[in-house]
Amino acid sequence: MEDKDVKKEEHKAPKHGGDNSSDPRIIAFVCNWCTYSGADLAGTSRMKYSDNVRVIKLPCTGRIDPLFIVEAFKKGAKGVLVSGCHPGDCHYTSGNYHSRRKYATFRDLLGYLGVDLDRVEFSWVSASEGNKWVSIINEFTDKIKSLPGKSTDIFTKK
């Protein structure tokens, strides 16, 4: 315990930078049709999950630009989740397929430039998967909380 406190001292949680380890900000970019509805379903089913997440709704994963992830980091998010319809289920036929290609590439690039890839999560959550939404959020939040305080990136002001 004491050790940990010392560490925290060392890395003084800055105002910006998302080094808010114990209470990290998590931003989720989700599609309107599947994941947003899945998250609503978790609500109507009165499931409980971590309250660190803030959801930003977009029409489709096809609209979720990978650059949003970087912007979220810049604004202090410690973790970013991107979620949409399962392959084959896209409300707009192929938005998730097109984005999947971009995400795979962009994720590689982020990792190569030194972003801890544990901070970025991609998932497919359907409108019927309230329980999956809950476990994704809980597990991701736990993972983010367990990251070392200094895990940062080159996009965030120090």
């Binding site: 970087v70 810049k74 397929y97 097109h98 999947r100 971009k102 430039l113 080159i154």
Partner: protein, 301 residues
Amino acid sequence: MANTKTDEKLQKIAKDLLESGEVSLVIGYAKGSNLQRMRPVFITKAEDAGKLSFSPHAVQDLAVFLKKPEVKKFGKIGIVVKGCDEKAVNALIQEYQISRDNIKIIGMECNGVIRQNIADKGETNVSESAVYDKCLICEEHIPVLYDFLIESEEPKLVLSGNVKPYSGIEKLESMSAEEKNAFWAKEFDKCIKCYACRQACPLCYCSRCIVEKNMPQWIDTNSEETGNAQWNLIRAYHLSGRCIGCGECERACPVNIPLMLINEKMAKDVYNLFGYKSGLDINAKPVFGVFSESDFNDFIK
């Protein structure tokens, strides 16, 4: 210096093209005032074709000029290209920036171009240690597409395997996130946001670059580390699956950021993920214009 046979062939082709009116402009190389450097030349009259020349000092990717409005207005254009540069022409055709009908490709067989810092010291021979890394991995010594091909008089590039091109990539890949972070933080710290990388790139053809858009401000305008990192990330992202590896961005960078370590890494990853290499086929659909239902999905929960 006298004309080589290569130069004569080149001049003849250009002269014929201009005389017949098949093109109204030929973009090529001319000897520079410094013999170890070649400079781009724009020939509009057949009688000027004699200025054209080619040698292992013809480093620049001339395809970069194809995006310029002042070049475009010539309509039909002839261009002198090495194998790497020619891939940029193909990518531009794939992305509808030029029409195949409007371009005459004068392809040069190339066994490598000599790094300028070495050339400046007087090196004139192509060798494993003298050429750019891109030449060591080159698979298009003869351009994949051309209207005219001029074979090289230079000896073939002999590879011993002792020089490992782009070895920095593997080194970086084996680093921890933290180490990579530190490496790039240091590199991008040097960036002065001059955008020479963009200007030198044949595939950065947007008339209004994303960095110039401020609603929203995609990239911080400050030249601090964060904005620099963002710029470099977005530049690399926008060229992923498109970059043909000519290396002009890195060569143009006044502060020597190893940009090709990013470009080549992304080219490698895109190839591993989707089996696509940029600029090899003018009829191929660009990798981010299509998808497959069975695309890599393992990173998605």
